[in-house]
Amino acid sequence: MPEEKNITGSCTINNGAVFKDGEQLFENKGIDLQHFLLSVYQHFQLNYPKFYKMDSLSKLGWLASEILLKSGFGKENYQSEEVGLVLANSNSSLDSDSKYFDTVKDIASPSLFVYTLPNIVIGEICIRNHFKGEHAFFIQDTFDALFIEKQVNYLLDRDILKACICGWVDVLEQDYKVVLFLVEKQKNEHSLLFSAENMCNIFNNSKGI
């Protein structure tokens, strides 16, 4: 039988609020997305100049990954190749695609063009944390927890990965939602069994475990 896997942490950023492991850590409602993302960056006292160059999708995913991994993740327990990501969304990189295409009429911007791929957010999280393992970006109409569960199970059951960040990161103009889960074989004081049902519960109540 495959070993049990656990959700050892989660982070949700949605509707002007940030939740980690079920607890609301920050709220700043009623401002536009760019200012909100910057306020999250400042509130958590993050220091990473590359953040300012990122598009909204990467900022959103990167912020959630920082908060997810900020405490309780034993990075030293893993080799670079043992940590990976499985992410999905519905709007791919359309938010940046339209911004890039606006520049084409004048001078096409290479710094915007690079963000016209949804997997760039995975690259940003990998660069920050030196994660070099398996990863994939899927496009789904809505969050398909069962599919994500099976993908992550395959990777962890066969020791392709030992820890995996999975979940949803989507943005289009002012609509956004990110919910990331940290999946490991070990448990901690607030971990939940890794299952589609538990991911769905966290995803839908937008609070996290």
Partner: protein, 384 residues
Amino acid sequence: MSGIDKTHELNVFVVADNVLTPLGKTTAENFDNLKQSISAVKQHNDANISLQSFYASVFDHDESFIKNNTHSFTKFEQLLIGSAADAIACSGIDMKDKKTILIISSTKGNISLLETESYNTELKKRIALSTSAKLVASYFGCINQPIVISNACISGIVAIITGMRLLRSGQYENAVIVGADVISKFILSGFASFQALSTNICKPFDKLRDGLNLGEGAGTIIFSTNKKYAQNIKVLGGSISNDANHISGPSRTGKELSYAISKSLKDSRLSSKDIDFISAHGTATVYNDEMEASAITLSDLQTVPLNSLKSYYGHTLGAAGLIESIISIQSLKEGLVLPSPGFKEVGVTNPVNVNTSLLSINANNFLKTASGFGGCNAAAVFGK
């Protein structure tokens, strides 16, 4: 330790395939043209795509890919359907079976609609890859919701690996994997802004290489675990890695692609000496080819005959991993490794064995590699 005993995992056989490019509408048509060293990359003057002339592999404007386009499918969707329909017809696989899964790979899908349509809520939905996937799935009467992969230039290999794993683990019996991308102003302007486009037909791994060509097309590969296909070529293994170095530039060392290669060999229960030829990503940009050659050398594969199909097709983005794997499967069947036209003198620090003539070879296994923006790398192994 994990409890999965890999020795009992199912074999995944290649049932049928299709390559749909300006060089032909079937794999056979394409391979016949490739054997004669015919390239689809030509100089174009098309103000709808670029104000400057450019080298690319693109279809004629009046080219049609399906017989009756009664559903107003876009060019992207027509390519997916046209390519998949041929492979499905050859395979006898039942698309309506709940044991069959459809997997779609693309980097930019319907993005060209941004260039011609007004940007509103309706258009945003029309551009979404899930919309195209649903249209294609319903065209073929699929029961299962299709899987869509968009992971830059490794999308096609990620789709192959995803399909292989879904079948190995018994979730489905058949996987129809189809990838396509269309070249438009959006994509061409982006690569031009990176100064990544060659001013001629590209020259992978050559000393004088100066960038890539873009190309459009589609590829379909159908996998099955059904033992009635046991004599067919198999997909033996695959792996994905990330450079964790730079979002638009590859690793300086090639260690991470080499890691994906060694993991895919291990997954295939093979070693580097079992690989008879390599279908490289070989985009002909300075940095990609340099990194890839380093990775191949680190994997002890530097003497193995290698080609890049980019000087025939350009870089077909989300279709590249599929098209290039399928052509290489044909090479395996016919015992013929294609040359890389335009290659004269090795221009990478770690020399690799770039094939320059149609090489007759008794081959059992080949390696396919790919890399892309976001620091992604992928490798897959196919064999008899």
